[in-house]
């Protein structure tokens, strides 16, 4: 029996690797995503333009302006000279943040009064603009504290911020571990969902059924190549993350592979479920697509899960990617041990058990 299974798995793997189209399918998206994702999927704010309307022109305003212009976040400062010009640069998205220095800014500061500055934020891009605002605020607070220091007083209180696990808040450290999870997803799903549909379309499915293999074993034979492909793709991304992009890996490699295996099982379950309801490759492809997009959106990769309404948070519990992303990020950045991995691992096992048994039942019914 072991031998029969082995030959089936071998046949599947050869089928994947033999034709150039299939090979391209396994490699091209991987390379493309590895090159584009880490650079493009960023919520950081860099190279943004800051618009400034300086109605004051006094020494303090110029000094503060100088500091804003030197900040890494704002390489370009656009000076405007009227209210209508200010409105125009925001309207036309030339800048998402504008600061207005009122006429009495320097005078008020010099006389020891508090001086307000107005920041105009483009709400159309509220996230980026809020982040840009927080950079500007940090510069203003620093400058203010420094002035205070020069006049011989100390600030009442100082707030120090330490970012644990990722001291400089490198967005890439967040993207690459997530990418390990996302690419593993696509690999495993496409391989399992399409292989069965291809057999059906090409008419070789009947041949498989008349072979001495038990239906359960046919499913296992279809599942294992998916597991192999997903762990190889996952390993390539993980290696690239550590050696090309310099992301630290603080957990244990064994835990990573154990989790990839559990995650792979839950995916293979979804893949087999999709392929058992589809009769053509096109339908299977659309099925994979309809599963992957919501799975990625609800995983917490694009936006934190805790921001979602309760209903979607409950739905996202059934999303294997949501649990796996927490594990991978924990293993990379937070030095997760088994105790921390387990709370996310058992839901994965539960999902795998459910989807695999549903897929088995559907498969039996379909061939009966």
């Amino acid at each position: 029996m072991g031998y029969r299974l082995w030959t089936l798995i071998l046949k599947e793997l050869q089928g994947l690797w033999r034709d150039p189209q299939g090979r391209r399918l396994l490699i091209m998206p991987l390379v493309l995503q590895l090159l584009i994702f880490p650079f493009s999927t960023t919520l950081e704010v860099k190279n943004s333009t800051l618009a400034v309307y300086n109605q004051d022109g006094g020494a303090a305003s110029l000094e503060l302006l100088q500091r804003l212009a030197e900040a890494r976040a704002f390489p370009r400062v656009l000076m405007v000279h009227s209210d209508s010009a200010l409105r125009q640069v925001i309207d036309e998205q030339q800048a998402m943040l504008a600061i207005r220095f009122p006429e009495d800014f320097s005078r008020r500061l010099a006389s020891g009064q508090s001086a307000p500055l107005q920041a105009i934020i483009d709400g159309r891009r509220s996230n980026s603009a809020q982040i840009a605002f927080s950079y500007a605020q940090a510069i203003v607070v620093n400058y203010s504290a420094e002035r205070l220091g020069q006049s011989g007083r100390v600030p009442t209180s100082v707030l120090t911020i330490d970012n644990l696990y990722n001291p400089n808040l490198e967005y890439r450290w967040f993207v690459l571990p997530s990418l390990v999870a996302i690419i593993t997803t696509l690999g495993a799903l496409i391989v399992t969902a399409l292989s069965m549909a291809r057999e059906r379309e090409e008419g070789t499915f009947e041949q498989l059924l008349v072979s001495p293999l038990h239906p359960g074993l046919i499913l296992v034979g279809k599942a294992i190549p998916g597991l192999i492909v997903s762990s190889i793709q996952g390993s390539i991304i993980a290696l690239a993350a550590v050696f090309c992009y310099g992301v630290p890996f603080t957990g244990s490699v064994w835990l990573l592979y154990g989790s990839i295996l559990c995650y792979g099982l839950s995916l293979v379950g979804f893949g087999l479920m999709i392929s058992s309801v589809c009769s053509t490759q096109q339908q299977a492809f659309l099925g994979v697509f309809s599963f992957t997009v919501p799975a990625v959106v609800l995983s917490g990769y694009m936006a934190p899960v805790e921001n979602m309404p309760v209903f979607l948070r409950v739905v996202s519990e059934a999303d294997p990617l949501r649990h796996f992303i927490v594990i991978v990020k924990g293993l990379f950045l937070k030095g997760f041990d088994f105790g921390l991995v387990w709370p996310e691992l058992w839901p994965l096992l539960l999902i795998a058990l459910t989807t695999l048994s549903v897929a088995y039942v559907m498969f039996r019914r379909r061939i009966a």
Binding site: I36, D91, S126, A136, L159, P294, A303, V326
Partner: protein, 375 residues
């Protein structure tokens, strides 16, 4: 006009429409998937952290430390949880159950009242979630600032830092990220309908052998192309109407532009999307390859490089250069403007011009590659 006969075109369009209506999977993609995706993008992708769970460790039992805790608890953005020790809260941070830890050290009150010293407040954030960490920092500094101001007021002095940056939001005053994410996601949905569906149509004719039957008729190149474009264009427009209706009435996103302009912009974008899909279909003559190519050439760029979630100006220059070639980029910007700002003509003209050029390019290239030959 022997290159275009209305009778033949009508017959071909009718045939194509029957094919669309008959295949349940294309109806599913055109009408059901957009609604589901809009809901998921609208509710699932929220960058507005409603209330951040933040741990608070007070190692000082003075009244001053209590005043600070009160300010933290009063913040509408923070759900503070008290912890007994720094170590315990850091473990919670590691497990992801809190997103930040505020620590008031034992000498907080002493240094606060010493005059020559500053009272230290320490904030630890979860760097594994960089975006959230930024927001945690900004919310906690907000609460900290309020505490400082209130304290200064009670003592009758001016608040210590002399300069205050007061934020004012234009267009989206309550800063609901849904208001800019949902219009952007319409661009992704239109890409799926325009490019993913059409990438299959010409290839299907080749795969099923019906292309040969078609070519044996007096049908011309223009008719063939138009009969593939028009029904899917109509499908796209109907699906756009559904998207707008769901966005405005169900998701409560304001729409400030005019429907006429929206219609023109959508038509121009559909021109590029349909053109790209048909081109891939014509070139590959294989449904599976075409779908795969459309996924990589249309869907991924529209999601990653259009600026609908991820800020284009933060990307490295070579990737920024690539985004100029992607029609979705102009469509996203036009949609965000139309929904939130209204008719800002200088922005819209530019986007419409680029969309027109790109539509002409892709449709023209498809026309060039459409041959009335079998090999």
């Amino acid at each position: 006009m022997n290159w275009l006969s209305w009778r033949r075109l009508r017959a071909l369009c009718l045939k194509e429409s029957y094919q669309i209506v008959r295949d349940p999977s294309s109806v599913l993609i055109a009408f059901i998937l957009p609604v589901i995706l809009l809901f998921i993008f609208g509710f699932g992708v929220s960058l507005d952290s409603s209330r951040m769970r933040i741990g608070l460790v007070v190692e000082d039992s003075s009244a001053d430390a209590q005043a600070f805790s009160d300010a933290l608890f009063a913040s509408p953005f923070i759900a503070a949880v008290r912890g007994h020790s720094r170590g315990e809260m850091i473990e919670e941070l590691r497990a992801g159950s809190v997103r930040g830890v505020v620590v008031l050290p034992p000498d907080f009150a002493r240094r606060l009242n010493a005059g020559a010293e500053s009272a230290p407040v320490q904030l630890l954030t979860d760097g594994a979630e960089p975006n959230t960490a930024n927001f945690v920092a900004s919310y906690v500094s907000g609460a900290w600032q309020i505490w400082l101001d209130r304290r200064a007021l009670e003592r009758g002095g001016v608040s210590a830092p002399g300069i205050e940056l007061l934020p004012r939001y234009w267009f989206n005053p309550s800063t609901v990220s849904r208001n800019f994410l949902v219009p952007g996601s319409i661009a992704v949905i239109m890409t799926i309908i325009g490019a993913l569906l059409t990438s299959l149509v010409v290839a299907r004719e080749w795969e099923r052998g019906t292309m040969e039957a078609l070519l044996s008729t007096p049908v011309t190149r223009a008719e063939l192309l138009l009969s593939k474009v028009l029904p899917y264009y109509l499908l796209g427009v109907v699906s756009m109407l559904i998207c707008v209706a769901v966005t405005v009435w169900v998701l409560d996103v304001p729409f400030r532009g005019s429907l006429g302009v929206l219609f023109v912009v959508t038509s121009l974008f559909l021109g590029s999307a349909l053109g790209l899909g048909l081109l891939l279909s014509t070139l590959t003559r294989n449904q599976f390859n075409a779908a795969q190519a459309a996924l990589n050439a249309a869907f991924l760029p529209a999601t990653l490089l259009s600026g609908f979630v991820f800020e284009i100006s933060s990307m490295p220059l070579p990737i920024q250069a690539v985004t100029y070639l992607i029609p979705a980029r102009y469509f996203v910007s036009a949609l965000q403007t139309l929904f939130q700002a209204g008719q800002v003509w200088p922005v819209l003209w530019r986007q419409m011009l680029f969309l027109l050029l790109s539509a002409l390019f892709w449709l023209g290239l498809t026309a060039l590659k459409t041959r009335r030959r079998l090999d």
